[in-house]
C-alpha cells in the first residue's frame, strides 16, 4: 500500500496522468459540446478510432505527421457529418445511430488495416510518423513541475488550450449562447430565428474534431501505430466524465483527470506482482463506481428531503 502511495507521489506519476488523460479529456470535451447542444454523442469512441487509424496511416503514406494529423481531424469530422446527417436530417435516434457508427468504425478500421498492411492486428509495420514532443523552455528547468508538465506530446498542450477555448466559446460567445439555448429548448431557440439544425451540426462537427484530436493522440503520440480497437472504451470514459461534470467545463475536466489518474494507477501497478487482468480493469471500475456514486448523489439531490 505504501509502495503504491510512493509511486503516486513521484513526478513521473504526474507525467503519466497527463499522458493518459489526453484522449479521455478530448473525448469528454467532445461529449460536452455535443451535449450542450442537446445531442448525446455516443459515437465519440468510433470517431476517435477512425481518426486514430486515418492519422497514422496517412502520416505513413505522406511521411508527414502534420498531414496525418489533419487527415485524422477530417476523418473525425466526416464521421460527425454522417452522424448529423442521420440524426438531424433523417431523424435516426442518436443513440442507435451512435452505436451503429461505433460498430462500423471498429470493423471498418480492421478492414482497411488488413487491406493496407495484410495484418488485422496493428499497423506497426508501416513507418508512420508521430507528432512531436515539446519541451517547454523555462518550465522544463523547474524541479518537480518541469518533470510533470514538460516534454509531453504537442497534443497534450493543445488539450489544455482546448479546455480554455471550449470554455470561452460556451460562455463568452453568441455561438455558445445559442448552443445552450438549442440544447435546453430547441423550440424556444427556433422561435427567435436560431437555426437549430445548423447549430446542432456545428456542435457535432466540433465534437467530432475534438474526438479526432483524442484519436490522433492515440496513434501518433501515445503509441506510434494503430492497433485493433485501440481506443478501448476511452470515448465512453469521456462520456462518463462529461455526465458527471454537471454541465460545467471545469468539473468535466476535473473528472476526466480523476479517471486519468486511475488509468495511470493501473499502469503503475503493472510493476507489482498482481494479476494483470484484474489490474487492467481498474480504470473501468473507477468509472463504474464514479458514475454510480454520481447518480446516487443526483438522486438524493432531486429527491426532496422529508421534514
Amino acid at each position: 500500500m505504501l509502495d503504491v502511495l510512493n509511486i503516486m507521489l513521484t513526478p513521473e506519476f504526474g507525467f503519466t496522468v497527463i499522458r493518459v488523460v489526453v484522449p479521455i479529456l478530448f473525448a469528454a470535451l467532445a461529449a460536452y459540446i455535443a451535449n450542450s447542444a442537446g445531442i448525446a454523442n455516443i459515437a465519440i469512441e468510433g470517431m476517435m478510432l477512425m481518426a486514430a487509424f486515418v492519422g497514422t496511416v496517412t502520416s505513413a503514406f505522406t511521411q508527414n505527421a502534420w498531414i496525418g494529423f489533419l487527415a485524422a481531424c477530417l476523418a473525425g469530422m466526416i464521421m460527425a457529418a454522417i452522424l448529423s446527417y442521420f440524426t438531424l436530417i433523417l431523424k435516426t435516434n442518436n443513440i442507435l445511430g451512435g452505436i451503429a457508427l461505433n460498430l462500423f468504425s471498429s470493423s471498418f478500421t480492421v478492414f482497411l488495416l488488413f487491406i493496407i498492411t495484410g495484418s488485422k492486428g496493428t499497423s506497426a509495420t508501416l513507418s508512420a510518423r508521430s507528432l512531436p514532443k515539446v519541451t517547454i523552455p523555462i518550465l522544463a528547468d523547474i524541479p518537480i513541475l518541469g518533470r510533470i508538465f514538460s516534454g509531453h506530446n504537442v497534443l497534450a498542450y493543445i488539450m489544455f488550450a482546448a479546455v480554455i477555448l471550449v470554455y470561452l466559446m460556451m460562455y463568452q460567445t453568441p455561438l455558445g449562447l445559442r448552443m445552450k439555448a438549442v440544447g435546453k429548448d430547441p423550440h424556444a431557440a427556433e422561435s427567435v430565428g436560431v437555426n437549430v439544425k445548423q447549430i446542432k451540426t456545428i456542435a457535432l462537427l466540433l465534437s467530432g474534431l475534438l474526438a479526432a484530436l483524442g484519436g490522433a493522440y492515440m496513434s501518433m503520440g501515445y503509441l506510434s501505430f494503430f492497433t485493433q480497437n485501440m481506443t478501448a472504451g476511452r470515448g465512453f470514459i469521456g462520456l462518463a466524465a462529461e455526465a458527471m461534470g454537471m454541465g460545467n467545463v471545469w468539473l468535466v475536466t476535473l473528472t476526466a483527470f480523476l479517471f486519468g489518474m486511475f488509468d495511470a494507477l493501473s499502469n503503475a501497478l503493472q510493476l507489482f506482482a498482481l494479476p494483470s487482468e484484474i489490474i487492467q480493469t481498474i480504470p473501468y471500475v473507477a468509472v463504474f463506481v464514479g458514475i454510480v456514486a454520481y447518480s446516487i448523489y443526483e438522486y438524493r439531490r432531486m429527491k426532496i428531503k422529508g421534514e
Binding site: 453568441p174 445552450k180 439555448a181 422561435s191 430565428g193 422529508g306
Partner: protein, 519 residues
C-alpha cells in the same frame, strides 16, 4: 384611414394529411390598429398567423407586406422584416436570464467574436423602460410569474423592432386584472405606431380592445368589422351559429348524498428552500365538483402530481372515504378509487405508438375481466375498447388504430374514457379541455358532470376561468401555494373578485378558509 401594412388575399392552407386549415381567407391589417381574429379552437386562426409569421406556408394565395408581395420562408425572415409573434405556449429558456432570452439570436458583440453581456443587460433594461415594463432583466426566467414571462415574450419582439406584433391567445393564462394591464400596454404600443394582431376566443375582451375584428369559422373568414359595427351577439352567431356561452346547469342533478369522499389535510412541499405548497386542506363531497382556480404556476400542478403519487410531498395526508392513501403507490391509489386526467395528454395521458385499445386499458390492465390465467384476453380487451369508443364517440377507424392518428379532441376523449372506466370514487381532472375543439370540450364537460351525478367526487384544476366557473359546484383559489379563498357556491362569485384572489390582492380569513374542509 391609415395605410394597409399587411394584406392577405385568398389564403388557402391544406396540410399534407389533407386537412384544410384555411380556405380563401382575405383580410387586411392597417398600420397602428389593434385587429382581433376571433373564432373557436380549430377555426384556423393560429394557422393563419403561422402563415404570416413564416412557420407555415400557404398552399395558395398572396401576401402583400409593406406594399410588396411576400412569402416568408421561415420565422427568421418574418422577424427581420419587422413581424413578431408571442406564442400561446411561451418560447422562453427557463435557465437563461431575461436579458439573455431577449437578445438570443441577435446578440450584441464585442471584439467581433465575443458576447457583450453588459450591453445586453443595458439594451434590454432601456427597452423595458421605454415600453413601461417594470422588471429586473438579470433575473432568471424560471423565477418569473406567468404574466412577467409574457412581458418578456413581448419584449423579445420589440427588441427585434417588430412593427407588427401577433399575440396568440395572450389572455388565456392571465387574471382579469393582468389582462387589463396587458390591454393598457397594447394601447400604448398602438399609439407608438405598432400594429397588433390579437387572437382570442373571448369575445368581451375582443370587444374591449379592438379597432377592427375579423371572424373565422371552419377555416374561412366570416368578414372583417369595425368594432362599433358589431355586437357580441352578432359575433357569436357568426362564430358558431348558436349560443356559445355554455351552461351546464340543466345537466346537474341536486346531489342528495353529502358524505365526504375525498379529504386533504395539511399538505406541504418545499423545493430548494422555496415553499411550493403551504398547508393545503380541503374536502370534496360525493357527487360534487370542486374547482381550483389560480394563475398557472401557483402550486396547482405540484398539488395534483403529489395527490396522484407522481411526485413527492413533504408532509400531509389525504383520504378516500376515510382511508389514508397518502403513502400508497400510484397503483394502490388507483385501486382505492383514484383516477386522473393529466394536464398534458401527449406526455402522460397516452403512449404514442400504441393502439387506441392499448391506451384505453392502461390504468386497469390487470383487471380479471380482460385477462386469462397467463395471457391477456385480447377479445375482451377489444370488446371493452369498442364499447368505450362508442360511448365516448371517439372518432377512430377502429380500436387497432395508432393513437397518434386521432385528433387532439379524440385523444383526450380516450383519456377521459379510460379514467372513467376505472370506476373511480375520486377523479382529478387537470386542464381537461386544453387545446381541443369546442365540441369535444363540451362533451368532456358533460362527462364530468355525468360522473358527478353518479356520486363521484371531482377535483377540477384549470387555468381557464370560464371552465372552472361553469363546471364546478364549489371553488377554491390558489395563490403562491396556498388556498386563499373558498366559495361555497361557484354561482355567487364574480370574475373580477376571483381575479383579486388569484393575484393575491385579497385573501379570506382563516374561518372562511376552514370551510374548504367542510367542517
Amino acid at each position: 384611414m391609415s395605410e394597409i401594412i399587411l394584406d392577405l388575399k385568398d389564403i388557402t392552407k391544406i396540410y399534407s394529411n389533407g386537412v384544410v386549415a384555411n380556405r380563401n381567407v382575405s383580410v387586411d391589417f392597417r398600420k397602428g390598429e389593434i385587429h382581433s381574429i376571433v373564432g373557436e379552437n380549430g377555426a384556423g386562426k393560429s394557422t393563419l398567423m403561422k402563415i404570416i409569421f413564416g412557420i407555415e406556408h400557404a398552399s395558395s394565395g398572396t401576401i402583400t407586406y409593406r406594399g410588396k408581395p411576400t412569402q416568408f420562408h421561415n420565422s427568421m425572415e418574418a422577424i427581420l422584416n419587422g413581424i413578431g409573434m408571442v406564442h400561446q405556449h411561451f418560447m422562453l429558456i427557463d435557465d437563461f436570464s431575461v436579458a439573455e432570452n431577449i437578445v438570443l439570436g441577435m446578440e450584441p458583440k464585442q471584439k467581433r467574436f465575443f458576447l457583450n453581456k453588459k450591453e445586453a443587460v443595458n439594451v434590454t433594461k432601456n427597452l423595458a423602460k421605454k415600453y413601461n415594463f417594470d422588471m429586473d432583466v438579470t433575473q432568471r426566467v424560471s423565477r418569473l410569474t406567468v404574466s412577467a414571462k409574457q412581458k418578456v415574450e413581448i419584449l423579445k419582439t420589440l427588441y427585434r423592432d417588430a412593427e407588427v406584433i401577433i399575440l396568440d391567445e395572450p389572455t388565456a393564462v392571465l387574471t382579469p386584472q393582468e389582462t387589463q394591464a396587458l390591454f393598457d400596454n397594447l394601447k400604448h404600443f398602438k399609439n407608438m405606431g405598432h400594429t397588433i394582431l390579437f387572437i382570442s376566443h373571448k369575445l368581451n375582451e375582443v370587444k374591449a380592445i379592438s379597432d377592427r375584428i375579423t371572424i373565422m369559422q371552419n377555416g374561412e373568414s366570416r368578414g372583417t368589422f369595425n368594432n362599433e359595427d358589431i355586437t357580441i351577439e352578432q359575433m357569436t352567431e357568426l362564430i358558431v351559429g348558436r349560443k356559445v356561452s355554455l351552461s351546464y346547469d340543466d345537466f346537474k342533478f341536486e346531489s342528495d348524498r353529502d358524505g365526504i369522499a375525498f379529504k386533504v389535510e395539511g399538505l406541504n412541499l418545499t423545493k430548494k428552500g422555496i415553499p411550493i405548497l403551504k398547508d393545503i386542506r380541503f374536502a370534496i363531497r360525493e357527487g360534487e365538483i370542486l374547482g381550483v382556480a389560480g394563475v398557472q404556476g401557483n402550486g396547482q400542478s405540484e398539488l395534483v402530481q403529489g395527490l396522484v403519487g407522481l411526485a413527492d410531498i413533504n408532509s400531509g395526508k389525504w383520504f378516500i372515504n376515510d382511508q389514508d392513501i397518502s403513502s400508497l403507490s400510484v397503483d394502490q391509489k388507483r385501486i382505492h378509487g383514484l383516477a386522473y386526467i393529466p394536464e398534458d395528454r401527449m406526455k402522460e395521458g397516452v403512449a404514442q405508438g400504441a393502439t387506441v385499445a392499448e391506451n384505453l386499458i392502461s390504468s386497469y390492465y390487470r383487471r380479471k375481466e380482460i385477462n386469462g390465467p397467463i395471457f391477456m384476453n385480447d377479445k375482451a380487451i377489444g370488446k371493452v375498447a369498442s364499447q368505450l369508443i362508442q360511448m365516448f364517440s371517439v372518432r377512430t377507424k377502429n380500436y387497432k388504430s395508432k393513437i397518434e392518428s386521432l385528433s387532439g379532441g379524440n385523444i383526450q376523449k380516450v383519456v377521459v374514457a379510460r379514467e372513467t372506466n376505472t370506476d373511480p370514487k375520486v377523479m382529478i381532472a387537470e386542464q381537461p379541455t386544453r387545446g381541443i375543439d369546442i365540441g369535444s370540450a363540451e362533451f368532456i364537460h358533460k362527462q364530468l358532470i355525468d360522473m358527478r351525478n353518479r356520486n363521484v367526487a371531482i377535483l377540477l384544476v384549470s387555468a381557464d376561468l370560464n371552465e372552472v366557473m361553469e363546471v364546478s359546484d364549489r371553488l377554491i383559489v390558489m395563490y403562491e401555494g396556498e388556498i386563499v379563498a373558498h366559495f361555497d357556491r361557484t354561482k355567487d362569485v364574480g370574475e373580477m373578485e376571483l381575479g383579486l384572489y388569484m393575484l393575491g390582492v385579497k385573501r379570506q380569513d382563516e374561518e372562511s378558509l376552514k370551510r374548504a374542509s367542510l367542517c
